[in-house]
Amino acid sequence: MISIMNALIFIVAAPFIGGLVAGIDRKLTARMQGRVGPPILQPFADVGKLFEKKQIVVTPSQHVHTLSYLVFIVASGALFFAGGDLLLVIFAFTLAHLFLVLGAYSSYSPYSFIGAERELIQIIAYEPMIILAAVGMYLVTKSFFVWEIMASELPLILYLPGVFLGFLMVLTIKLRKSPFDLSTSHHAHQEIVKGVTTDFSGPMLGRVEIAHWYENVFLLGFIYLFFAWNPLIAIIAIIVVYLLEILIDNTFSRGTWQFTLKSSWIIAGMMGLVNLGVLYYLSAVVPA
């Protein structure tokens, strides 16, 4: 059943979990680079600092867009953890990301503009694959509702290996890891300065940062769905996947948008579609 309690827990706990994950991410990245790295609670200090700064804007409408971005990310994530319809969750996230893009566009400045255009390319790069992932889950569990997918006894990963690999590829885009961190990045890739977030500052930027944490928690939850039949394996899978993402991030530098679009559409799309095609064929041939 749709659980409001889970949604509320998500709304309250996700920033802490997300920030912690971000902190562990930075620590591990530093260690991989042979450094000591910041304390694990550093992201909380960062956001706290941002809220201590005086707010400056390029135009007041940036407030509306970034606030809407945060609100809709929280709402979409809450819908996911409440157990709602997975496709609706995906479309709600698209709506949220659109607000981030509009916020960058509204400041009418070159770097934000390029960042916004690249963010749009990223969105169309990952969205087909994520929809295919949801469709794959439906094909196996016969439901789009997250609570029913969670309750399923079937090992989704065994039915959806291609879909999972495709999803991992677009996960790199969604987590804003190199080589797909085109529009904005937490590392010192300053090719277009800070891209989408160039003209955000202070508390506004803090809100965008918190929204990223919420989204990361959602993404980890999505990975969990593939392994939902065994929670222990799921947690291990999440850890392994995230470590892999950090490794990829540290190995690659920023790619081009052509590379991003082509690799996610062609490679991820192919892996996903072949997997789904096999499932279709099997369900037609083998009575379920």
Partner: protein, 154 residues
């Protein structure tokens, strides 16, 4: 203890430096000195930055740029002038195109002399800047007008 001193983000700008001090600043960011353990991140963006780390002196070309960058930073903010050129113009002080140190155009909070300033001094200077940042946040800081020394490392 405010969050500001736990997470100072810097904007590093080369005014008219020979790049000697810049190399030392970038060395601080490298694994050998690793300032990220203090939460310091090099953002390239004044709107995200708290500490403006400037090398080199002011000349006619970068005068407006430095002013522009400083104005785009959100309060509270501090300026760290790294190297003797940033502090007072250095060996180029008498040149026809050099106006002087950074404090000709914006208020400087910490001077880090040296040619080139050593990474240890730079880190020291930034740490000192952090305490000034805290004072500014609390409203207890007494700032000096441009052109006068604010008491740095001698």
């Amino acid at each position: 203890m405010t969050w500001l001193s736990k997470s100072p983000w810097i904007l590093h700008y080369d005014a008219s430096s020979c790049n000697g001090c810049d190399i030392e600043v970038l060395a601080c960011l490298s694994p050998l000195y690793d300032v990220e353990r203090f939460g310091i991140i090099n953002t390239g963006n004044p709107k995200h930055a708290d500490v403006l780390v400037i090398t080199g002196g002011i000349n006619e070309q970068n005068r407006e740029v430095v002013r522009n960058l400083y104005d785009q930073m959100a309060d509270p903010k501090v300026v760290v002038a790294v190297g003797i050129c940033a502090s007072s113009g250095g060996v180029f002080r008498e040149c026809y195109n050099v106006v002087g140190g950074i404090d000709c155009i914006i208020p400087v909070d910490v001077y880090v002399p040296g040619c080139a300033a050593r990474p240890e001094s730079i880190i020291d200077g930034i740490v000192k800047a952090l305490s000034i940042l805290e004072e500014k946040k609390r409203g207890t800081h007494i700032s000096q007008a441009p052109g006068q020394g604010a008491g740095g490392l001698r």
